[in-house]
């Protein structure tokens, strides 16, 4: 069996390649919304924050350990709050930018100019 660390490293490197290839085709006008949505997605750290908030002393009666676990839980809760500002704010800001972009582009040019629209 593969060492779990090596397996994770492989997944990490391949995922980085996906990230590398997925953004090249972006339209210049969409640079800022794309940045905004990847920023919102980077708040996936909320996953780690929830795990931290759910930390447990695993039944240990040691008051020192219990106190440290509570420190971890509060740090986790703080991280959940910060990440949620990023998530809600990030996706809503992206939505606002895209709404503006669409209004601007609606009159004629998008339909006429892009051949890809006809193909669909």
């Amino acid at each position: 069996t593969i060492n779990p660390l090596i397996f994770r490293l492989a997944v990490f490197v391949l995922a980085a390649f996906i990230g590398y290839y997925v953004v090249w085709a972006v339209t210049p006008a969409l640079h800022t919304p794309l940045m905004s949505v990847t920023n919102a997605i980077s708040a996936v750290v909320v996953v780690g924050a929830i795990v931290a908030a759910a930390a447990s002393a695993l039944g240990s009666p040691d008051p020192d350990i219990v106190q440290k676990v509570w420190t971890a839980k509060w740090l986790g809760a703080g991280a959940v709050a910060l990440a949620c500002v990023n998530i809600f704010g990030g996706f809503m800001v992206t939505n606002r930018m895209l709404a503006m972009y669409k209004k601007k582009e609606r009159p004629a040019p998008t339909e006429a100019a892009s051949p890809s629209a006809q193909n669909k």
């Binding site: 779990p4 660390l5 994770r8 990490f12 995922a15 980085a16 996906i18 990230g19 590398y20 090249w24 085709a25 972006v26 969409l30 640079h31 800022t32 940045m35 949505v37 990847t38 920023n39 997605i41 980077s42 708040a43 996936v44 750290v45 909320v46 996953v47 780690g48 924050a49 929830i50 795990v51 931290a52 908030a53 759910a54 930390a55 447990s56 440290k68 420190t71 971890a72 839980k73 509060w74 740090l75 986790g76 703080g78 991280a79 709050a81 949620c84 500002v85 990023n86 998530i87 809600f88 704010g89 990030g90 800001v93 992206t94 939505n95 895209l98 503006m100 972009y101 669409k102 629209a117």
Partner: protein, 291 residues
């Protein structure tokens, strides 16, 4: 299938959704749909995580998490709705700062309760490998936080948009970098909470906070969107480092995707503005034409 396996499969679905989301934002026809897919992916990631930790979800824990979501989500929603359209880039910068701070807090939490995350070895110590990963999360999270904050303030005009050149800044940056590397080496050999407490990580955080400022402050305001995109990439790498610490598939994969795509996006943005990527990013290190 175990809870961990089911969660990993659901995280895989999240990762695919996020790839479609980023891809969707690349063209006008699919952009709005891309944003919706991203929201769905994030909701699924959070729900999957609640499922993963379901055995620990007592009332107090659920209250902490729900409280965080309500407070953070509320603040984020209000900020996103009230900000004028012209202030969008600095809003993204500020949100990114908070995301970086969140990674920092999670890394500290893992340090304080290592047993809960399966990081405690047989002798009651944390493995050097985990300590290095935690140090990196703290380091990148802190740089992201202070750097993004400076970028947002520059974009907002709260501090001068012009490049602020500190005297001896190369020497200062070099000293800070050496100090951080030394602290990480000490942390890696510290066995964790038993010796040194959390102070080593706090010191790394403090130095990294200063580093974030000294890296961004010499870069001119016109280049700030590129800097925000670059710092956005950093927050992805910070999340990935946490993923290694917590053995969390979603954090590793999504962190790497965001890290790489953010870096490429900042390169693309530079090209679109006819700026040299190296001179913008190196502005903090001494590129003379930055700003």
């Amino acid at each position: 299938m175990s809870t961990v396996d089911i969660s990993a499969l659901l995280y895989l679905v999240c990762a695919v959704l996020f790839i479609f989301s980023i891809r969707g934002l690349a063209s006008p026809e699919t952009a709005r749909q891309g944003n919706k897919i991203g929201i769905f992916g994030m909701a699924l990631a959070a729900a999957t995580t609640l499922f993963l930790v379901k055995d620990n979800l007592d009332g107090a824990t659920f209250g902490l998490i729900a409280g965080g979501v309500v407070v953070g989500g509320g603040v984020g929603a209000v900020l996103a709705t009230r900000a004028p359209m012209t202030a969008m880039p600095q809003m993204v910068g500020m949100f990114n700062a908070l995301g970086g701070l969140a990674s920092l807090l999670v890394a500290l939490a893992a340090f304080y309760a290592p047993a809960s995350f399966g990081l405690l070895g047989a002798e009651g110590t944390i493995a050097p490998r985990s300590l290095i990963e935690m140090s990196l999360s703290v380091l990148i999270g802190a740089i992201t936080f202070s750097g993004s904050l400076i970028a947002a303030l520059k974009l907002n005009g709260s501090i001068s948009g012009g490049p602020i050149l500190l005297p001896l800044r190369h020497v200062i940056n070099l000293l800070i970098a050496v100090g951080i590397v030394a602290l990480i080496a000490i942390t890696a050999n510290s066995n964790g909470a038993q010796s040194g407490g959390g102070m080593l990580l706090i010191w790394i955080a403090l130095l990294a906070l200063i580093f974030g400022i000294t890296l961004v402050i010499p870069i001119g305001g016109a280049d700030m969107p590129v800097v925000v995109s670059m710092l956005n990439s950093y927050s992805g790498w910070a999340a990935a480092a946490l993923g290694f610490t917590l053995s969390n598939f979603a954090l590793i994969v999504v962190g790497a995707i965001v890290g790489a795509s953010g870096a490429i996006l900042s390169y693309i943005m530079c090209k679109a503005m006819n700026r040299s990527f190296i001179s913008v990013i190196a502005g903090g290190f001494g590129g003379d034409d930055a700003g």
